[in-house]
């Protein structure tokens, strides 16, 4: 095969992996900390995209400012969901899954009622719509931008959870709720903030995906299944999710070059199922955490 094609495939793999990662990051945090499978994650991404659209179209906020604003606004929605619903269901994992599915229905239809079902789009600064020609590979600036934002988000998340007091609290609660409580850590508040951060990350993801393609009430669904697979095969940890996203992104890109996109998708699903058969705890995750 032509070396420039191979190189393109690899570069694209990084880009696809970073998109998977951005989509999965918030989910991984919420799952890793609170053990909640948030089925409304896709709709939080969608909310992020609509937030950006609204800020841009009606208030004229520039795109780069929309990213942090989307984070904040969707994080607030996350807090609302956590306070009103999820906090009552922490000891019923399957029920949180169902309840958040209900939330996703409500969010999707609510947005449709407000914005209508015709597609919207996010306006990008002109330079993000250009490309970078490096001779043998050609990369679009927007894809580089997504990779950079992904790296930034990963760093910020890592810093928050491993280098701040809040992070220590979160990990204490994750390890042992009762013990943490005896040290005066409010696990309810910790969960709430984690949920807010997870939702906020989905909001940023939405703001960026709005630039990559179309903004529709149903757009969340297309990311959510892949995002779940990243989290599950990564074992629910931050590092695991990064590795899983990077690896899957490469596979998707390479298979798409060799075969076609549809078959690539199918192969990935198959690989994840087989992988989990032999390593049910995921890439990074301890096996003996029962009882």
């Amino acid at each position: 095969m032509d070396p420039s094609v191979v190189l393109s495939a690899l570069v694209l793999g990084i880009s696809i992996g970073s998109i998977f990662l951005v989509a999965a990051l918030g989910l991984a945090i919420i799952y890793g900390t609170a053990g909640v499978i948030n089925m409304a994650h896709g709709e939080l991404i969608m909310l992020g995209a609509y937030t950006t659209y609204t800020l841009q179209t009606f208030l004229g906020v520039p795109f780069f400012l929309c990213l942090p604003l989307s984070f904040c606004i969707v994080a607030l929605v996350g807090i609302a969901i956590e306070r009103l619903l999820i906090q009552h269901l922490y000891n019923r994992p399957l029920d949180t899954l169902l309840a958040t599915w209900g939330v996703s229905l409500v969010l999707m239809q609510g947005v449709r009622l407000i914005f209508g079902s015709d597609p919207k789009y996010v306006q990008l600064p002109a330079f993000l719509s250009t490309n970078l020609d490096l001779g043998i590979v050609n990369v679009s600036v927007f894809r580089i931008f997504v990779v950079l934002v992904a790296a930034l988000l990963v760093f910020a998340t890592w810093y928050t959870f491993y280098r701040t007091r809040f992070g220590i609290m979160v990990r204490a609660v994750t390890q042992n709720k009762e013990m943490a409580a005896s040290f005066g850590i409010n696990s309810g508040k910790t969960y709430m903030l984690t949920f807010a951060i997870g939702a906020g990350l989905a909001g940023v993801a939405g703001a960026m995906f709005g630039g990559l393609n179309i903004v529709l009430p149903t757009m969340g669904m297309s990311y959510v299944v892949e995002a779940f697979l990243m989290v599950v095969s990564g074992g629910g940890s931050l590092l695991g999710t990064i590795l899983a996203s990077g690896f899957t992104g490469q596979m998707q890109s390479i298979f798409a070059f060799i075969f076609n996109d549809t078959f690539a998708r199918f192969l990935i699903f198959l690989m994840v199922v087989i992988f989990l058969r032999f390593r049910p705890q995921g890439l990074i995750g301890s096996g003996d955490t029962r009882r």
């Binding site: 079902s117 970078l132 050609n138 995906f209 393609n213 179309i214 798409a256 070059f257």
Partner: protein, 435 residues
């Protein structure tokens, strides 16, 4: 061996058959239409489109424009003095609902005809019922053909009409090397087969053919393949949200619209509006209708429609116009059927038969004169090529010199030819209800 098994099945089924007294239906026999039209009474038709869900974007417009057309016909005195009464249902973008709503429309509401569907999948879902109940479906958009039933009238372009002009035009303007990109389903694949025929005639060269999963928004690998192939233009049958992602990523990847434009069968006014005009500008579309068509009928249609309460979405496009003309085809055919048989004896099947050769003049049809083929009941029309402008509107750059005949089996001459009575195979056998 087969006899004993048959015998067993027969015995086993006798009991069940005894319970099944009413509605026993033998294959080949069709149910009669269980209603009659009365002069002066409303004529019920079903509008079967999705008002919610993923298909709502194009189909809600179809419902609106049908209501507009029905109002217009009723205001002008209806059909033989009877007003048309639309029965509007929501198919919720779910083929199960299409199927059950069709039953509702035919069996409960006893509609005379159904106007509905935007996708072949939903059409295939409801055709068995429509055929069995011998009702009539007006399918008002483009499709792949390769279907021959006695219960469908289509007012959109078939695969053989759609790209006939587009391919030679693009080869002529930009060069012979082309790359095909489509969504992964039946219509793009069939359209591409037709396009290959035109490409060969135009001495073009096909560099590659790629299909994207429906709804997918990742065009990275495909765009890299296109970049490596360096075509003169791209022929696209990508649909829906994917189409918008494709155009956006095309520009973001640095492909140039001047040297490698996309010639599409789908990217119309709605899509360019949704992707942002700067991503659509410069690309081409082949369709029988554009909002920018300059003729008095269209100008009147656009003005009146957008001024009416139904024009709330602010645009007209080929799909809506094809739906609009289907209402007038129905009117023409029903008037003819009433004249031929008397209003009491009109059935949906007789309306279909009467539609053969029905012509809509340029005064009625915004896209210009069209007529229904007397054999396969698709539409003779004039495909036009438009180029998207910086503001998202289209400029007509070419109009076919004459009407193009619809032929659902143009690339499958071995299978047969669609006639009014069924699919006529080359060996002379006639098969009905081929779907």
């Amino acid at each position: 061996m087969s006899i004993t098994r048959r015998k067993f099945l027969k015995t086993a089924s006798v009991g069940a058959l005894a319970l099944a007294a009413p509605h026993v239906w033998l294959p080949g026999n069709r149910e009669a239409w269980g209603a009659t039209l009365t002069a002066g009474e409303p004529i019920k038709v079903g509008l079967l489109f999705s008002l919610t869900g993923g298909l709502a974007v194009p189909e809600e417009d179809s419902t609106l424009v049908m209501q507009y057309a029905i109002d217009e016909i009723n205001a002008a005195g209806g059909i033989n003095g009877s007003p048309i009464e639309p029965v509007i249902v929501d198919a919720k973008s779910d083929f199960k609902v299409y199927s059950s709503k069709t039953r509702e429309l035919i069996l409960r509401d006893k509609v005379t005809s159904i106007f509905g569907c935007y996708t072949s999948a939903s059409r295939k879902a409801i055709l068995p019922i429509v055929m069995q109940q011998d009702n009539l479906l007006f399918y008002p958009t483009c499709y792949e053909g390769a279907e021959c039933t006695q219960n469908t009238i289509c007012t959109g372009p078939l695969a053989n009409q759609h790209s006939k002009d587009l391919i030679p035009y693009m080869v002529d303007q930009f060069g012979p090397r082309v790359f095909f990109v489509g969504s992964n389903y039946v219509w793009p694949k069939e359209s591409n087969k037709n396009a290959k025929v035109w490409l060969e005639q135009a001495n073009g060269e096909l560099l590659g053919e790629e299909y994207i999963p429906l709804g997918s928004s990742e065009f990275g690998p495909v765009i890299e393949k296109i970049r490596a192939a360096k075509p003169d233009f791209i022929f696209s049958t990508v649909v829906g949200a994917s189409d918008i992602a494709f155009h956006r990523q095309f520009k973001q990847a640095g492909l140039k619209v001047d040297s490698m434009p996309i010639a599409s069968l789908t990217t119309g006014e709605i899509e360019t509006k949704a992707m942002g005009a700067e991503f659509g500008a410069g690309h081409f579309l082949s369709a029988p209708y554009f909002q920018a068509l300059e003729n008095p009928t269209n100008e009147k249609f656009v003005e009146n429609f957008l001024g009416s309460p139904y024009g709330k979405n602010g645009t007209t496009h080929y799909n809506m116009e094809e739906t609009y003309t289907s209402a007038y085809v129905f009117k023409g055919a029903l008037e003819k059927a009433i004249a031929d048989h008397g209003i009491e004896d009109v059935t949906p099947r007789k309306i279909r038969d009467a539609a053969a050769g029905i012509k809509l003049s340029a005064d009625v049809s915004p896209e210009g004169e069209v007529w229904i083929d007397g054999e396969n009941f698709n539409t003779w029309l004039v495909p036009k090529i438009g180029q998207c402008q910086a503001d998202g509107s289209f400029k007509i750059v070419k109009e076919a010199p004459e009407h193009v005949a619809p032929d659902p089996y143009s690339i499958y001459p071995d299978i047969g030819k669609c006639t009014a009575d069924g699919l006529l195979a080359p060996d002379g056998t006639l098969r009905t209800d081929v779907i």
